[in-house]
């Protein structure tokens, strides 16, 4: 039973990671590329780390519970650090004077 949940979570995370990678490759502009990079990676990391933490508990022991709590700590860090890194990159681009992509730039 727990294997089915773990595999479903892994596949959901892979779907989100695939969307993020395709968005990074295909979007036209620096700011629009940050949109999949910031959001999809955070949610994909959340789902896949949750799957690993669940699978680690399939044989229960206190050491495995402690390891799972550490894995959940990674989720906490990712949820704080990934948006902060995205905001720092946007800030750097904005202060360096990058102009956002508009419809006039289509085809360049």
């Amino acid at each position: 039973m727990i294997d089915v949940i773990v595999i479903a979570l892994l596949i959901c995370g892979l779907v989100f990671f695939t969307g993020g990678a395709v968005g990074i490759l295909r979007f036209p502009d620096f700011y629009t590329r940050l949109h999949p990079a910031g959001k999809m990676d955070t949610l994909g990391s959340f789902l896949m780390v949750l799957a690993v933490a669940l699978f680690n508990l399939h044989e229960f022991s206190w050491a495995a519970l402690l390891t799972s709590l550490k894995i959940l700590l990674i989720i906490l860090f990712v949820f704080i650090l990934n948006p902060t890194a995205t905001h720092a990159i946007v800030d750097a681009g904005f202060r360096a004077g990058m102009r956002p992509w508009t419809k006039k730039d289509r085809g360049k």
């Binding site: 294997d3 773990v6 595999i7 892994l10 995370g13 892979l14 990671f17 695939t18 993020g20 990678a21 395709v22 990074i24 490759l25 620096f30 590329r33 940050l34 990079a37 990676d41 955070t42 994909g44 990391s45 896949m48 780390v49 690993v52 699978f55 680690n56 050491a63 390891t67 550490k70 894995i71 700590l73 990674i74 860090f77 990712v78 650090l81 990934n82 902060t84 890194a85 995205t86 720092a88 990159i89 800030d91 750097a92 681009g93 202060r95 360096a96 004077g97 990058m98 102009r99």
Partner: protein, 95 residues
């Protein structure tokens, strides 16, 4: 279950190669930074999956945690460095 983790890790490696395109051929420096950030956040997951394959998750969790923090510090330092520098563009932004 080991096969599932193995193929998931292989697919993650494929996605990392796709993100590597942006960090090699990106038009500006910040595009390369986006690619490096995406690769780093996939590497954390890959480290956890390698830990499950080798059945030493308790050791690999610490490595993954340290790698997440290190990736964040690297991206933050690089973006703070490049916001004061001109010449991010290969061609001028205002035409």
């Amino acid at each position: 279950m080991t096969d599932v983790f193995l193929y998931t890790g292989l697919f993650l490696c494929l996605l990392m190669v796709a993100s590597l395109y942006r960090s090699v051929f990106g038009p500006t420096v910040l595009d390369r930074l986006i690619g490096v950030n995406a690769i780093g956040s996939k590497t954390v997951i890959l480290l956890l999956l390698i830990g499950l394959i080798y059945e030493r998750v308790d050791m690999f969790v610490d490595i993954a945690l340290a790698y997440a923090l290190l990736n964040f510090v690297a991206v933050l330092a690089a973006s703070r460095y490049f916001q004061k520098r001109k010449g991010l563009y290969e061609e001028p932004p205002y035409k």
